[in-house]
């Protein structure tokens, strides 16, 4: 049944990304001087206030969106035509539908909160202004990504967040390792972006790859050509049959876009940059490398849901890569000692879950996990940041312990977030993760059986619970450590308020996703997002109706059971740090420990193959250019010189006598002429003018003769 949809034009969506952009400009261009003159106050006034203004506008727009008819929740602001070349047209336009509305709310709200937190975290940094400028710029780019009306505008944000990520990872750039981590992030992301671009070319080619010369002034695209998200779904059936290189176009497009997502959202094989990205300040890790930017890949796949449902192959790849990443990263997380590294691998793992969700066609579940993860992971990272500050920038959990007694708010918020991510039904994380696992189990559309994906994700869930509680017990329980002879202190309210708010939302967002078997109604968020994902409504399932209702609660119970198991084992091994077993196990299985602790040596393998191969190709090309290509040029020059020498020898020895005389004459005139060669430009110019005049006179004369 075709539902009548209308689009609402509104005028102010552009203000949402605009205000952070202004903040970035002011703090970036004048921040240094402002800070030198008036301290941090003007920077805060500009760069922290503007994101909040942006949040308020987003909220107003979002409320307006909610007020619209359920099936017509799309609002558009068109500013100007970005470019238009014979039908290849992209508008500078922003659009808010339920999905981008949800994203906008997450980005502006969590983003603005983290700005507040950063006031405390970056308090003593001399480049305070630069930090806030970059952070504002990040918000701008992220909002472009989310609100952009077409694929290319999304790509502006896509690369923009990558740039900001690069700048902020290398924020403390005088340490060359931080600079290198930033570079790694950008270059690895560029590999993904290459995939994104190729996917885009193929899609462009598929929807409008032929031109007709309809008008005098040039071309029009044959067919209805568009790169706007709103208009693309209608084109899918028409291009579903097309093939390129013998592969269906939509599969190809889906895979290439997913390559882009593996870069941005740190999935196998391009996840390697994210753990290194922890070199950046902790608020950056929370905002960019946990809550928002890294979820862009999930957002994109959800955005292209109408495309992916045409390709079970691409969906299978996404789900398998997602679940493999979820498991793989979780195993690494178990063995890390750096608290931020634990959270980094946890993020990679949780992103894997999100991809399982969008991969099996449960787009709303993936999006919901994106939302809950934004709160609980931001809370965890900021809690870790609070700990790191208290520990004077010590990140090794082995040197921590007992912080719970001196930092109660940090402890409690961290614990709540742990409960959320581990999957206990008193907080949101359970509902989102469980929905993903259930939907994977129940999926009958992929090329692999749904239960196989579920099983791996299920085991990874146990690991998640274990490593999170491990980090909690190692950090907060036991005897309180002393740093420089003092006990660590709880942070100022500017930090703790943010922690508390995030923890509160981590719990409260559970109301959005309470499943049908508990309430009898579809989850709120599923209902809200349904118009965006309508194409995916009728994907085949293993169990439907009553059968599903009977199985689902048991699956949920099983999830709670493994989460509890992970928690109990972590508590037994690490509570109060008294149990000697972990150390013994580590010695007993030192080989495995070393392998996993060193992240399976993937970085080293990449370095030995891809990076070195790359640099070698560069050197080889340069050698070829210098020695072969340029060598040929110089060789040709030499031949020319050689011919002259031979010519000279002939001159000297063969036509000697006769030429000697001539040479003498030439020599004489040469000597005379050399006097003209004064090396002074005026006389050259005079000579030039004189010569020109003579030539003109001569030619005039000749032309008169022949004309």
């Amino acid at each position: 049944m075709e539902v009548e949809k209308t689009i609402t034009e509104i005028s102010y969506l552009w203000l949402i990304p605009f205000f952070p952009a202004i903040g970035a400009f002011i703090s970036g261009a004048f921040g240094k001087r402002l800070q030198a003159k008036w301290g941090k106050a003007p920077i805060i006034a500009v760069s922290v206030t503007l994101p909040w203004i942006s949040f308020v506008i987003a909220l107003v727009a979002f409320i307006k969106l909610l007020g619209l008819d359920e099936n017509s929740r799309t609002m558009v602001t068109h500013l100007w035509t970005w470019f238009d070349v014979a039908g290849a047209k992209a508008g500078m336009a922003f659009a808010m539908d339920p999905l981008s509305g949800m994203m906008t709310m997450i980005v502006t709200f969590v983003g603005s909160l983290i700005h507040i937190y950063s006031i405390g975290y970056m308090h003593d940094d001399e480049s305070f202004w630069r930090f806030f400028s970059h952070l504002n710029m990040f918000l701008f780019a992220m909002l472009m990504l989310v609100l952009g009306d077409n694929i290319l505008l999304m790509f502006v944000g896509w690369e923009g967040v990558g740039l900001c990520s690069y700048l902020l990872i290398g924020f403390w750039y005088t340490d060359v390792n931080n600079a290198k981590a930033g570079m790694k992030a950008f270059v690895v992301n560029r590999i993904g972006d290459f995939g994104f671009l190729v996917g885009f070319f193929i899609l462009f080619w598929a929807v409008g790859g032929a031109w007709s010369h309809a008008s005098q002034s040039g071309y029009t695209m044959s067919g209805h050509f568009t790169i706007t998200f709103r208009e693309l779904p209608a084109m899918m059936d028409a291009i579903a049959g097309k093939e390129l290189w013998g592969i269906p176009v939509l599969t190809l497009v889906g895979i290439f876009f997913f390559i882009g997502a593996t870069g941005k959202s740190a999935q196998i094989p391009l996840y390697v940059w994210l753990p290194d990205a922890m070199a950046g300040p902790t608020p950056v890790s929370a905002l960019i490398h946990a809550a928002t930017m890294v979820t862009a890949g999930v957002y994109m796949v959800a955005r292209f849901n109408f495309l992916y449902i045409h390709s079970p192959t691409a969906m299978t790849i996404i789900a398998v890569v997602g679940v493999a990443t979820a498991f793989f990263a979780a195993t690494i997380g178990v063995f890390q000692y750096d608290i931020k590294k634990v959270l980094a691998y946890s993020t990679v793992s949780q992103l894997g879950y999100m991809f399982v969700g969008v991969g099996v066609g449960a787009y709303w579940a993936g999006s919901y996990h994106l939302l809950t993860h934004a709160f609980f992971k931001a809370c965890l990272f900021l809690g870790a940041g609070s700990v790191i500050m208290a520990m004077h920038h010590e990140q090794d959990m082995r040197k921590m312990g007992g912080l719970g007694k001196v930092m109660p708010i940090t402890k409690w918020t961290y614990l709540i977030a742990c409960i959320t991510i581990a999957g206990f039904p008193i907080a949101s994380g359970f509902y989102s993760k469980d929905e993903i696992l259930w939907q994977a189990f129940n999926s009958d559309y992929l090329l692999v059986p749904g239960w196989s994906i579920w099983l791996v994700g299920f085991i990874a869930a146990a690991l998640t619970s274990f490593y999170m509680f491990r980090s909690y017990y190692m950090t907060f329980t036991g005897t309180t450590v002393k740093v420089h002879g003092h006990e660590p202190q709880e942070q100022k309210p500017v930090i703790t308020i943010v922690l508390a708010t995030l923890a509160m939302f981590a719990v409260l967002t559970m109301v959005l996703g309470i499943p049908q078997w508990l309430t009898g109604a579809n989850p709120v968020l599923e209902h809200f997002l349904a118009p965006v994902f309508e194409a995916a409504e009728n994907l085949p399932k293993v169990f439907t109706g009553e059968a599903a209702h009977h199985i689902e609660p048991w699956m949920a119970l099983a999830s709670i059971a493994v989460a509890t198991l992970g928690w109990i084992v972590a508590r037994w091994l690490y509570k109060d740090r008294k149990n000697p077993l972990p150390l013994k196990l580590k010695e007993r299985f030192s080989g495995i420990h070393k392998l996993i602790y060193n992240k399976y040596y993937v970085d080293e393998a990449y370095h030995a193959t891809a990076v070195r191969g790359f640099l070698f190709t560069g050197r080889a090309a340069s050698w070829f250019d210098r020695v072969i290509v340029d060598g040929m040029v110089n060789f040709t020059g030499r031949i020319g010189q050689g011919l002259c020498v031979i010519d000279g020898l002939i001159d000297k020895y063969i036509v000697d006598g006769a030429v000697n005389l001539l040479a003498g004459i030439v020599h004489f005139f040469g000597d005379q002429l050399r006097k003209v060669q004064t090396g002074k430009l005026p006389s050259y110019l005079a000579g030039f003018a004189l010569g020109l005049t003579i030539l003109i006179v001569i030619s005039q004369f000749l032309f008169d003769v022949y004309a």
Partner: protein, 534 residues
């Protein structure tokens, strides 16, 4: 139909700089009579240079506003008989392709002139190019500007050729006299290499001339042959020149022209003169070289090969595309191994000019518009890059990428300008380079699927070499040796900020430039696209 004179604007744009050259020459000739001081002569010629580059820039604004972009033919035509005996006309005019290039020339030349001023150069730095033989330098700079304008406005092949050759002379001296340590090698290499290309072009031109059908000149006299671009393009005799030594003459002419232009682009394997020329040339000359001169190669291909020999262009399109892709990927890899900042930027120019070749070879509207927009966009970005290399060279007197470190701490404003320009060059969306690259790719993909994918992998290599350069020069611990370097001064700001503003503006709103060129270009590729069944 023949184009009647409608305006003398282009003649003024072209010859105002040359008048400046003349004025400087006159004053120099008077020097033995009137005892001018060196200081007066230097400052006088500097002032003339700024005026001589400023007036054409102002006239370019007028040209831009008067140009009717819906008209695909020539506009602002000035058309006279020049040398009647050989049917040579003085015929200048602009279409959508030329007008953008003329404007670019005006902008880049003016910025290069500002960059030639000694403002902000340490007083004791007598060896700086801006203090050596100033009047000669300024005279040659203006002569070069005239020649460049001439190439882009000439619509008579002979006139085009005269301007093309005229350009070599000042360039040779500007590199050879005011350049770096190996300036003589670089200047001779540049001169001979380009001259070799010119010989091919000359032969092709003569072949075309003698093949062309009888016509009339603008004053009504009968002519057996013609150099007129418009008439050559409409002449069926040119498309089928018959055989020479058993080979298709038209194809030989096409190849000869193509190689002549390819040397200028420069296209692999004819590119090795460029890194040498750039490394030795003084900063403003590098700016002009990268910003304008390279575009003459691709401009020539479009103006002569595409417009006059369309059938042969269709025949050769795979060759153009393949060489374009080689340029993009090969030069990007070469960049990875460079140790001299200027050499790196020079190779990056080679890489970025490859996009132009790839885009134009596709004959799609996006491809051709992307190609010419890339010429524009590279004409804005590469001058900024060379100015940036010049800033550090003026201060540290070397450009070894590994010889710095932590410059971001010492020169924050410089770092920001550098970062923005590098990002524009690596095609960051939101800056102008991206629009050009994206259009080239979009246009090329439907025609050269696999080649385009290979070319697109260049975005990874480009990011790698630029970021690696940033990391080595600007990040990491501060190099104590350079901790007292000054940040950018007002002269450098005056040259860099307009370019940076252009990159941002044209990244978010490229339509003003695209609108100027679209109609002309799409009419140009229409028959070509028809021929390959697009």
């Amino acid at each position: 139909m023949d184009y009647e004179t409608t305006s003398q604007l282009l003649t003024w744009i072209t010859f105002v700089p040359l008048m400046g050259t003349g004025l400087i020459a006159v004053v120099l000739l008077l020097k033995p009579v009137v005892k001018f001081s060196k200081g007066f002569l230097d400052n006088f010629s500097r002032a003339i240079a700024i005026i001589g580059a400023g007036i054409p820039l102002a006239l370019c604004v007028a040209l831009w506003s008067q140009f009717d972009s819906s008209n695909t033919g020539l506009q602002m035509v000035h058309h006279l008989v020049w040398i009647q005996a050989f049917n040579i006309e003085y015929f200048v005019g602009v279409d959508g392709l030329s007008v953008t290039m003329v404007a670019l020339t005006g902008i880049v030349s003016f910025i290069a002139t500002i960059a030639s001023m000694p403002w902000g150069i340490a007083k004791d730095d007598d060896h700086h190019f801006s203090r050596r033989s100033v009047p000669g330098y300024m005279a040659l700079l203006l002569l070069l500007e005239s020649a460049m304008f001439g190439v882009f406005v000439a619509q008579d092949f002979f006139l085009f050729y005269v301007f093309w050759e005229l350009m070599l002379l000042p360039m040779y001296f500007l590199i050879g006299i005011w350049g770096g340590p190996r300036r003589e090698y670089a200047a001779i290499k540049f001169f001979l290499y380009t001259l070799a290309g010119s010989v091919l072009m000359l032969l092709a031109m003569i072949a075309m001339y003698f093949t062309s059908s009888p016509t009339t000149l603008i004053d009504g006299t009968k002519a057996a042959h013609t150099f007129n671009f418009v008439k050559l393009a409409a002449d069926p005799a040119i498309r089928d020149m018959g055989l020479l030594w058993g080979m298709d003459l038209a194809k030989m002419v096409w190849i000869g022209l193509f190689i002549g232009f390819a040397i200028k682009i420069p296209m692999f394997p004819f590119h090795t003169w460029l890194p040498d020329a750039h490394v030795e040339a003084p900063t403003p000359i590098s700016v002009i070289l990268a910003g304008v001169l390279l575009k003459m190669g691709t401009y020539g291909i479009l103006r002569v090969n595409f417009m006059i020999l369309p059938d042969q262009t269709v025949w050769a399109r795979y060759g153009i595309a393949v060489f374009g892709v080689i340029n993009i990927v090969y030069a990007a890899f070469v960049c990875m191994a460079q140790k001299d900042l200027k050499k790196l930027i020079a190779y990056s120019s080679v890489s970025h000019m490859g996009f132009v070749l790839l885009g134009m070879a596709a004959f799609t509207p996006q491809g051709i518009s992307g190609a010419v927009y890339q010429m524009w966009s590279h004409g804005i970005i590469s001058p900024a890059l060379f100015l940036i290399a010049g800033v550090i060279y003026d201060r540290a007197h070397h450009r070894e990428i590994n010889g710095f470190g932590g410059l971001a701490k010492i020169m924050p404003e410089y770092t920001a300008l550098m970062g923005l320009s590098f990002m524009a060059s690596l095609g960051l969306p939101g800056l102008n380079g991206f629009i050009a690259e994206a259009l080239c790719f979009l246009g090329a993909f439907p025609v050269f699927t696999t080649l385009t994918v290979i070319a697109a992998s260049g975005v990874i290599i480009t990011a790698a070499y630029y970021l690696w350069t940033i990391q080595r020069m600007f990040l990491g611990p501060v190099n104590e040796k350079y901790k007292n370097l000054n940040d950018v001064n007002w002269r450098e700001r005056l040259t860099l900020y307009p370019l940076i503003a252009g990159m941002l503006f044209l990244g978010f709103y490229p339509m003003p430039v695209l609108n100027m060129m679209n109609n002309t270009l799409h009419t140009l590729v229409k028959p070509l696209a028809n021929a390959i069944g697009l």
